[in-house]
């Protein structure tokens, strides 16, 4: 029994590699996309604002699973064929980028106008003001919402099993079918819980760090 658990855990751990890769790629690029989207949304350039509003409306208003199917099964119809991992990564980046765009925009807009004015009269330009004064203050305010998304992403990542990516969940399911045992699912659940707990802890530490100035 014990040997079996170790064995299956090793197998599921291999599957988690894909999950980790997807998580990392999505986290990095969707945050970058979110910052760019948020800056675009507050840019006061009407066309850019409209395009971005359309983007967040579509991607936050339709199921992630539909978007995933669209990228993997839909795009080939249009002559664009993606391998499962790129299709999944692209979908997740664009989807989470939409959520982060709105979260970051809200954060930036919550900063008092006086901060911009103080920076301006000290001679700082737009880039300096945003990167050194406004965005660092937003970080603290968006941490709770970002933490939620970070945990959602752990769970959403399991959706890629449906397009045949060998992630954590799929590895567990294969083991269940193969061994006719329920244990792989329990192990998978434990893995997900561990990952989520680590993320919660990281964010709690961050929030503590940022609470010094209030």
């Amino acid at each position: 029994m014990f040997d079996y658990i170790i064995n299956v855990s090793g197998y599921i751990l291999e599957g988690s590699l894909i999950t980790f890769q997807l998580y990392l790629v999505t986290a990095i690029f969707s945050v970058i996309l979110g910052i760019a989207g948020a800056l675009g949304k507050i840019s006061k350039i009407p066309l850019l604002e409209s395009i971005l509003s359309f983007y967040t409306w579509v991607f936050r208003g339709t199921p992630l699973l539909l978007q995933l199917f669209f990228a993997y099964y839909g795009l080939p119809v249009l002559g664009i064929t993606l391998q499962p991992f790129p299709a999944a990564a692209l979908t997740f980046i664009v989807n989470y980028g939409a959520y982060f765009t709105e979260i970051f925009r809200g954060g930036i807009e919550s900063i008092n106008e006086g901060q911009y004015e103080a920076a301006k009269v000290l001679g700082m330009n737009y880039r300096q003001t945003m990167s050194r004064i406004i965005i660092p203050q937003t970080v603290k305010r968006i941490l709770p919402a970002t933490s939620n998304e970070a945990i959602n992403l752990v769970k959403d990542s399991a959706l890629v099993a449906v397009i045949g990516l060998g992630d954590l969940l799929r590895a567990a399911k294969v083991a269940v079918t193969r061994d006719f045992s329920i244990i792989p699912f329990i192990i998978a659940a434990v893995f997900y819980l561990i990952i989520s707990s680590v993320i919660v802890t990281v964010f709690r530490k961050l929030e503590e760090k940022y609470s010094v100035y209030e």
């Binding site: 004015e117 009269v121 000290l122 004064i133 100035y213």
Partner: protein, 240 residues
């Protein structure tokens, strides 16, 4: 030092500055008084480029704002009623931020300069505190030091003590008074009439977007030339 000629400024339909002209010499301390809504803040904000004027000419140290824009503002610092300190930075961080990123001064030199300024405003022991840990009076003194860290020739103060508890007003006024002695050119919007009378070389009285009196403090406080000013002073003095 500053020359304003026939400045007009409207917000939509509302004309807020209606033909403002004045000159300020190097080292002068000017108090700007007048009823709320008369355009005092808008005037200061126009001088430093936070508001764009609709017409008129503005020269800062001989540089035309219309022609050189930003360059004209570089030699001015401003202190706001609401402090506007950077909450995510320590007191020291607030003071060295602009010297580092705008002027490109070395960190050690910026810190040394900042330490001297903190000493001057009496807050050396607060250099590692965050703004949220300070009283209003301390915040405003940090804000003054932060503006001074850019070594401005002209300082603008927009009601620097209006959001302070009465017992904290004195410490801020003392700092501004010290600056006046150092011959920094200053324009101060204030409701502290005693202070205006003591420190200023001239007092502007603003009403409905115009400077209706530009004179020495003795004249305006002892022997105001118009009934409008008299009424304003009576009202404000009875409030204090």
């Amino acid at each position: 030092m500053i020359k304003a000629k026939d400045i007009y400024k409207s917000f939509g339909e509302l004309e807020v500055l209606s033909g403002i002209s004045f000159e300020v010499e190097q080292g002068e301390a000017i108090s700007i008084i007048g009823p709320s809504g008369s355009g005092k803040s808008t005037l200061l904000r126009s001088l430093i480029g936070l508001e764009e004027i609709n017409s008129g000419e503005l020269y800062i140290e001989g540089i035309s704002v219309r022609e050189s824009g930003k360059k004209a503002y570089q030699k001015m610092g401003m202190v706001f009623q609401g402090f506007n300190l950077f909450p995510h930075k320590t007191v020291m961080g607030n003071l060295i931020e602009a010297p580092l990123v705008v002027k490109g001064i070395k960190k050690s030199a910026a810190k040394e300069n900042a330490a001297a300024l903190l000493k001057k405003v009496g807050l050396s022991d607060k250099k590692d505190s965050y703004p949220a840990q300070l009283s209003g009076g301390q915040k405003q003194r940090v804000a003054i030091a932060r503006a001074l860290a850019m070594e401005p020739d002209i300082m603008l103060f927009d009601e620097p003590t209006s959001s302070l508890d009465p017992e904290l007003v004195g410490e801020v006024l003392t700092v501004i008074r010290d600056l006046a002695e150092e011959n920094i050119t200053m324009l101060i919007v204030t409701h502290e009439m005693g202070f205006a009378r003591d420190v200023s070389d001239r007092v502007f009285f603003m009403d409905h977007g115009q400077i209706i009196s530009d004179t020495v403090p003795e004249k305006i406080f002892v022997n105001p030339e118009s009934e409008r000013i008299q009424n304003f002073l009576t009202k404000i003095l009875s409030q204090n």
